[in-house]
């Protein structure tokens, strides 16, 4: 059994969060993770408030356990989304792509636990001061939008910078990774890529197959020049995008246009010529399609084995 203070704090059985992935983390996935003892998280991506309300209500019909919602702060509907979270009494909100600032106060006053995803110890300190319950220190090994620092240096520095609980993310795909994160000072982990292949994940089968086939070298960073780098699989689309990005004659608008809709196409249509398949560097470690419950049970067992095994090196 793996228990940390995060379990009590978030009322969950295991300190494992499932990352909010745009076009992927829906009510079914989030509810499955929560039912398995972790914390499932719905991604509200760029969706509007009506879509989100529906997803939250669907999740509530599928689980009685707590779940969270990830808010992308660049979402044009963010103010209405913020209110839906309060109306629906969502227990946990994670935030990404920006500084939650004023919204945080609103949520905290409504009793929502706010857990910002941070790419630096400065933003972690700022989040703590603003009333965050915990922070997710996410390294650039993760899939999707990433920061510069890798998980190994980021997590202990964030742990030293704040006194609130730290959740590690980025590059964690099995129990060894979880054990390592706990050793770095984290009291929980967030995994995204590992859940991509779960049977409850509603994405195109091609996407899952690509993750299963992926090797350690099969992800790349695109969009760095646009200021928001995205880690994804090196598909035809990603290679074409990188070629255009590296050509100084490509206007930024053309590049933005190139990427528009690519996440949805990957998740729903599985088209590797037009879709951007977000995935973390850990994709190469994932070899099996399993249910969420099987994944979580395995993760916990592996973590126990890794942590118990560590003692052998203490002489």
């Amino acid at each position: 059994m793996i228990k940390t203070p995060l379990c009590e704090l978030l009322d969950i059985e295991f300190p494992i969060l499932q990352g909010g992935m745009a076009w992927i983390s829906d009510a079914q996935l989030a509810a499955a993770v929560s039912n398995a003892g972790g914390l499932g998280i719905i991604s509200s991506m760029n969706a509007d408030e009506n879509w989100l309300r529906q997803e939250i209500q669907t999740a509530k019909s599928l689980t009685t356990k707590p779940f969270g919602v990830n808010v992308m702060l660049m979402n044009p509907h963010v103010d209405k989304i913020a209110q839906v979270l309060i109306d629906e009494k969502v227990p946990v909100v994670t935030t990404g792509a920006g500084n939650p600032g004023k919204l945080m106060k609103l949520w905290i006053d409504a009793g929502i636990k706010v857990i910002p995803v941070v790419p630096s110890s400065g933003l972690a300190r700022y989040s703590e001061r603003a009333g965050a319950t915990a922070v997710i220190a996410e390294g650039g090994e993760s899939g999707g939008h990433v920061g510069d620092l890798a998980t190994m240096p980021l997590v202990p520095q964030v742990c030293d910078a704040v006194s609130i609980p730290v959740i590690a993310a980025g590059g964690i795909g099995d129990g060894r990774g979880i054990a390592a994160a706990l050793m770095l000072g984290a009291v929980g982990v967030q995994l995204g890529t590992r859940f991509l292949v779960a049977s409850e994940t509603n994405i195109h089968e091609n996407y899952k197959d690509k993750i299963i086939k992926a090797k350690d070298i099969d992800t790349t960073l695109s969009g760095r020049s646009l200021g928001h780098p995205v880690r994804c699989l090196k598909t035809t689309f990603a290679k074409e995008f990188l070629k255009a990005e590296n050509d100084p004659l490509t206007p930024k608008d053309t590049l933005e246009e190139f990427g528009r809709g690519a996440l949805r196409i990957a998740a729903q249509e599985g088209d590797s010529k037009k879709g951007c398949f977000m995935a973390g560097q850990i994709a190469g470690l994932i070899h099996e399609k399993e249910s969420v419950n099987e994944i979580i049970i395995k993760l916990v067992k592996e973590t126990e084995t890794a942590l118990n095994g560590g003692i052998q090196w203490v002489k």
Binding site: N99, G101, K102, P119, S120, G122, L123, R125, Y126, G147
Partner: protein, 73 residues
């Protein structure tokens, strides 16, 4: 007074004692990304023993000076 102190903090932060800074200098012109801005604003807040709202409207040094002046008034 507030402006001068902020310029000093900024020059220290960037380790550029001769750095030219005006009220209209933007974080972008000063080559400070969003993570630098968070670090810098927190240093400024600590120096003035106050706190200001950090959101997307904070674009220039003048914006920070204005908020700090209001906060300590």
């Amino acid at each position: 007074m507030v402006f001068e102190k902020i310029v000093e903090i900024l020059r220290n932060y960037k380790e550029e004692p001769e750095l030219e800074v005006t009220m209209t200098s933007s974080f972008e012109e000063l080559e400070l990304d969003s993570l630098d801005t968070v670090e810098l604003v927190m240093e400024i807040e600590e120096a003035f023993d106050t706190s200001i709202e950090m959101d997307g409207t904070l674009l220039t040094i003048g914006d920070v000076v204005g908020l700090i002046e209001k906060a300590i008034a």
